[in-house]
């Protein structure tokens, strides 16, 4: 990768290295500007803990039997909010029901690697 640089004097090589580092930094800064333009609210809260929290909470699903029974009772009176397109995300306003929790099924089929 750097065979072309062997003939340069040490000074020139250092300059080139700095140049490419600057170029890299500019590329990345450009990407950051793009991102902030799309999502203006990003990074307002301490960003680090946001995705760390999300990472730690992976797998969290909520089912509340109280909510479920209340919802069942209310269904007689009015239409309930329908489950959104993402059935896997069960939080907040949406009333979770056992049907919405994805079925946990173990793989009964042998791995295709062994086939």
């Amino acid at each position: 990768m750097s065979s072309e640089n062997l003939s340069d004097t040490p000074m020139e090589y250092e300059d080139e290295k700095q140049d490419s580092q600057e170029k890299n930094a500019n590329l990345v800064k450009g990407e950051e500007v793009k991102l902030k333009a799309k999502y203006p609210g990003l990074g307002q809260k301490p960003g680090g803990s946001d995705f760390l929290m999300k990472r730690l909470q992976k797998g969290q699903k909520y089912f509340d039997s109280g909510d479920y029974n209340m919802a069942k009772a209310k269904m007689k009176n009015k239409q309930l909010p329908v489950a959104g397109p993402d059935k896997n995300l069960v939080t907040g306003d949406h009333i979770p029901t056992p049907q919405d929790l994805p079925q946990r099924r173990s793989s009964l089929v042998t791995s295709k690697l062994a086939g």
């Binding site: 930094a25 590329l27 992976k58």
Partner: protein
């Protein structure tokens, strides 16, 4: 550079085998999540998202074909982990196998540790090639004989039978991790092993399942103050008191278990100082270390972050001794890689048997090798197109600028869904196992 593949002397890598389905419709369960050779290289284990383990065994080299190394064929396959739901915590526990680690072989049987997010299991894989026949009280099919019909006595004898490979769970190490297990590592003492989750590392004795010792705990008293998590951990290959763990902030801590029971205070802290002018929103994310591996010699360790592979000398904490760029052209794509979550992909890395070459995966089913001695690197591709038996792999090149040469691929054409996260190198020979999403490729050097 044509043909140069690392290992110096222009190693030429050839396709050997590919395992898995050809169709593009990949079931989630078939996604390969870990690949590991055992200590002799005779066995190759894979784990998948469906909680299954498949073990391949290398055939003995045949006298007829001295030019070929033995092929890897299925030896055993079993369901290691099942999906679970923790009702108390409302937590769904995936059956995905995060890591497999082999124990050094002590007797005829083979042992491996496999882990999902919460539970580690010790599996015994043993062969049965004889069975007892000629019981007095039982028929050959197992039915019991009427005792009154037994008039003579005979001694049952072992008769040869077709080889049967059995996998049985010998230990289950459960309920020791609140957070998700990312690493397991067997100690060189062959008696203990560590398991690491996002915030804690535990030490286990392989014989004891109801107790484990916490040796690292980085959970802050107030979770609002959480700034980094543990991303990987490994025991030193020959110093049984030493282990390292990497963090999401790009640091590696080396700990000595002789210093104290709780190794929250590190013995060494490896961190490369960051140029403040390079700081950006992405800095911390791309510096997060996704894998750490000691060299076989124990003198060096390698870390993988999003864009590079770094080699550290254990005697020098201030900066790595070598840095290799895996796919620096992605710097201009960081915005979209953040949006499609690819920036969080966890690539692994591995050493070859004599620590002269390191390998890691990339996108578009590319993988990279860096020869430390000859200062050469190469990009190869795992694809069905280059899968003719013993065909030599052609080096690939990604072009970043405007003018795309023939055979080069432009950054914009890369398929970010085709990622090679898991690779493994045979402990002695130039045989590598490369996992694409749902296929396992085996490549060998041309003999």
């Amino acid at each position: 550079m044509a043909g140069a593949g690392g290992g110096g002397n222009d190693v030429q890598w050839c396709f050997s085998q590919v395992k898995g389905a050809i169709d593009d419709d990949v079931a989630e369960a078939d996604i390969i999540s870990t690949v590991e050779f055992n200590h002799s290289g005779e066995l190759l284990a894979t784990g998948d998202k469906g909680g299954r383990v498949v073990i391949f065994q290398q055939e003995l080299e045949s006298k007829n074909q001295p030019q070929c190394r033995g092929e890897y064929n299925v030896y055993s396959t079993f369901q290691s982990h099942e999906p679970e739901f923790d009702y108390l915590k409302s937590l769904e526990i995936e059956e995905k196998i995060n890591k497999i680690r082999w124990l050094p072989q002590k007797n005829a049987a083979q042992f491996l540790l496999s882990t999902n997010d919460k539970t580690i299991k010790l599996w015994k894989i043993s062969e049965r090639d004889k069975r007892p026949e000629g019981y007095n009280l039982k028929e050959e099919d197992g039915r019991y004989r009427d005792p009154t019909t037994v008039t003579t006595l005979r001694v049952p004898v072992f008769q040869p039978m077709d080889l049967m490979v059995e996998a049985s769970p010998r230990r289950v190490f459960a309920n020791a991790h609140t957070y998700h297990i990312n690493s397991i590592s067997v100690n060189s003492d062959c008696e203990t092993y560590l398991s690491a989750d996002d915030l804690r590392i535990n030490l286990w004795n392989l014989e004891i399942t109801d107790r484990s010792f916490n040796i690292v705990d980085i959970k802050p008293a107030n979770m609002e103050e959480l700034t980094e998590v543990i991303t990987a951990a490994e025991f030193h290959p020959n110093q049984c008191n030493t282990f390292v763990y990497s963090s999401s902030k790009g640091t590696i801590r080396l700990c000595d278990m002789r210093a104290s029971a709780l190794c929250d205070q590190h013995s060494k802290l490896f961190e490369e100082p960051e140029d403040p002018s390079n700081r950006s929103f992405f800095s911390e994310i791309i510096s997060s270390i996704s894998d750490v591996k000691f060299s076989h010699s124990g003198r060096y360790m390698m870390t993988r972050d999003y864009l590079s592979v770094k080699i550290w000398d254990l005697n020098m904490e201030s900066r790595p001794v070598e840095t290799y760029q895996v796919h620096e052209y992605l710097r201009s794509k960081l915005c979209s890689l953040y949006e499609n979550d690819c920036i969080f992909d966890k690539f692994e890395c591995c050493w070859n048997g004599n620590d002269s070459v390191v390998m890691t995966g990339s996108y578009n089913n590319f993988f990279r090798m860096f020869d430390r001695g000859y200062r050469q690197d190469v990009t190869l591709e795992a694809s069905r197109e280059s899968s003719k038996p013993r065909s030599v792999l052609k080096p690939r090149k990604v072009c970043t600028g405007g003018k795309r040469k023939k055979d080069e691929i432009s950054v914009d054409s890369l398929d970010f869904n085709k990622k090679i996260l898991h690779t493994a190198w045979h402990p002695q020979d130039n045989i590598i196992a490369v996992a694409t999403t749902n296929n396992l490729y085996i490549f060998q050097d041309k003999l």
